[in-house]
């Protein structure tokens, strides 16, 4: 009460705009006002460096060249191997398949390791050892095992996305409030009910944190896989343009990869808000 009185004091004496006054557009939607402005400023700097100050095109291509390459690449049909849609499709498909396999394996193994401690303690040293290994180092091996096709990229993506999901699932399992488990036990809950109605949902926020990291790593896995050896995909395009010293389309592909990464993350965020709507507010009132 006293604090509120102190707060309202200056409002009455000085002509400070009251809180009810509508906020400016910039304050309300910085993501739609300031963020585009930053983009415009960055492109302007870029344009200044290349077209005005004359940075050589074999170091940095001019923005309009990149735009032309982008439009040229995106105006082709999705079945045209010379266009970007086709290669985008290949890379995204590799990333999604790898992400699905890696995260399902990671989540299942995470649960199993925590639920059966014997399994956990016997396998954990190997998992830690495997995790310390830079997974990218497996990429050359992948060509030997799977050749230049889809399987190799899916393999490397699965290996890379597996760990963040595994680690987060384990952290989630271990952070389930013991009272929730006691509640279930006190009602003679079956093991399956305990897992499906208490432990699994309790782990969801952690699982989604892992999936958020994994979704970004999935693109990385697919592109690295394509670097090592591929007949299609955005990573393969990058290597091709690199060898031909064509920087403008290279920049265009990099832009595309950034957009794909952003969209993957956005979709994950949407799924999280849909299936984990309670997680942001748990701390506010989970315990009194």
């Amino acid at each position: 009460m006293t604090m509120r009185a102190a707060e309202s004091g200056p409002v009455e004496t000085a002509p400070v705009p009251s809180r009810e006054a509508p906020l400016s557009l910039v304050r309300r939607y910085p993501q739609f006002t300031i963020s585009p402005a930053i983009l415009v400023a960055l492109v302007a700097c870029w344009w200044l460096a290349t077209d005005v100050l004359g940075a050589p095109a074999y170091v940095v291509p001019a923005p309009e060249q990149v735009l032309r390459a982008l439009i040229n690449g995106l105006s082709r049909s999705p079945w045209d191997t010379g266009g970007y849609w086709y290669h985008t499709g290949v890379t995204v498909w590799e990333a999604l398949l790898g992400l699905a396999i890696g995260s399902v394996l990671g989540a299942v193994l995470g649960f199993a390791i925590c639920h059966w401690p014997i399994l956990g303690r016997s396998w954990y040293p190997y998992i830690v050892g495997f995790q310390s290994l830079p997974k990218v180092a497996l990429a050359p091996l992948m060509v030997v095992w799977f050749g230049f096709g889809l399987q190799g990229k899916v393999f490397i993506t699965a290996v890379i996305t597996f760990f963040p999901v595994l680690v987060n699932t384990m952290a989630g399992y271990q952070s389930v409030e013991p009272e929730r488990i006691e509640l279930a036990r006190s009602c003679n809950a079956s093991e399956w009910h305990l897992l499906s109605k208490i432990i699994l949902p309790s782990c969801l926020p952690f699982l989604f944190a892992g999936l958020g990291v994994a979704s970004v790593l999935a693109i990385l896995g697919a592109v690295v896989g394509e670097f090592v050896g591929a007949s299609a995909g955005l990573g393969m395009l990058l290597m091709q343009y690199d060898q031909q010293m064509e920087l403008a389309p290279m920049f265009a592909v990099i832009l595309l990869l950034a957009v794909i990464g952003f969209l993957m993350n956005y979709v994950m965020g949407m799924l999280e808000r849909r299936y984990c709507f309670w997680a942001q507010r748990v701390n506010a009132s989970g315990r009194p």
Binding site: E177, E179, R180, E182, L183, A184, R185, S186, C187, N188, A189, S190, H193, K197, I198, P201, L204, F277, W278, A279, R281, V282, A284, S285, G286, R287, P288
Partner: protein, 271 residues
């Protein structure tokens, strides 16, 4: 041993004790030097329809005792009978209210309340009406479809009590259920618990560290010593019912409080 000599609240209920504990002990840890004795040689009886509180300092084993009675912890020695049968694991006749509400944040209040019914694989449809009635009893009828994070601490604990009551247990085990609430809400919840209890006549086993709360609510108060947890005394509270908050200022209430204080103070002070 002492409990047996104290008469229960009503003579009609006196024939059959609901809980009989004999020589009950609980030790933690393996059988070596690191062993900790939490409960040592407890003997007590709790009669049908009685409200019994346990007071003691933190670490005196009162929560351990509740978990043992709930069948959540195995005991090391002695015996417990619940309704004439030896206690082996959680019983459908007992429901637990924890210190925190333990409401699942992804379920609405009514879904949380019906959770024990799902766990016990009983037909949910048969219990919907009952759950709604109980929510109305505690003033939560407008919050049935809300999520726990939309409720205050006191409302959450009310929902937790309803979740325990919906199973229609004979025995309600309450582990400092109002310990986390502020003083005002706590008094209100005490009155409400009294009202619910006198309407349902369940047997309540209530853990608290508040002497006043224990006296106000109970027919009998068990005072526990610390390390190892033993029963210091069992006191019958002969205050008329229904009780209201003004009873706290009476001489008799004061004498009970002083006696309990002296019992607990004897081992190192309560405050």
């Amino acid at each position: 041993m002492r409990a047996a000599t104290i008469s229960p609240r009503t003579s009609a209920d006196s024939a059959q004790p609901l809980i009989v504990a004999r020589g009950l002990s609980k030790t933690y840890g393996a059988a070596n030097a690191h062993q900790v004795t939490a409960l040592k040689n407890l003997d007590f009886k709790i009669y049908d329809g009685e409200f019994v509180s346990v007071v003691g300092q933190s670490g005196c084993g009162k929560s351990t005792l509740l978990k043992v009675l709930a069948g959540l912890l195995p005991y090391s020695a002695g015996s417990i009978e619940l309704n004439g049968k030896p206690l082996r694991g959680p019983s459908p006749e007992a429901a637990v209210v924890f210190q925190s509400p333990v409401l699942l944040p992804w379920r609405t209040v009514i879904e949380n309340v019906l959770l024990p019914i799902e766990f016990r694989k009983l037909p949910i449809v048969d219990y919907r009406k009952k759950a709604a009635d109980l929510l109305e009893l505690v003033g939560l009828e407008d919050f049935a479809k809300r999520y726990p994070f939309e409720l205050s601490g006191g409302m959450q604990q009310r929902a937790a009590i309803v979740r325990a009551l919906v199973q229609d247990p004979r025995l309600l085990l309450m582990d400092e259920p109002f310990g986390a609430l502020d003083a005002m809400t706590r008094e209100q919840m005490n009155l409400e618990l009294m009202r619910i209890w006198s309407g349902s006549r369940k047997t309540v086993f209530f853990i608290t560290h508040s002497i006043a709360e224990a006296i106000f609510l109970s027919d009998r108060v068990i005072a526990m010593t610390t390390r190892p947890g033993t029963i210091a005394d069992v006191i019958s509270i002969d205050l008329p019912r229904p009780r209201d908050l003004s009873i706290i200022n009476t001489d008799r209430f004061g004498r009970y409080a002083a006696h309990l204080h002296s019992l607990l103070d004897a081992q190192g002070g309560m405050f």
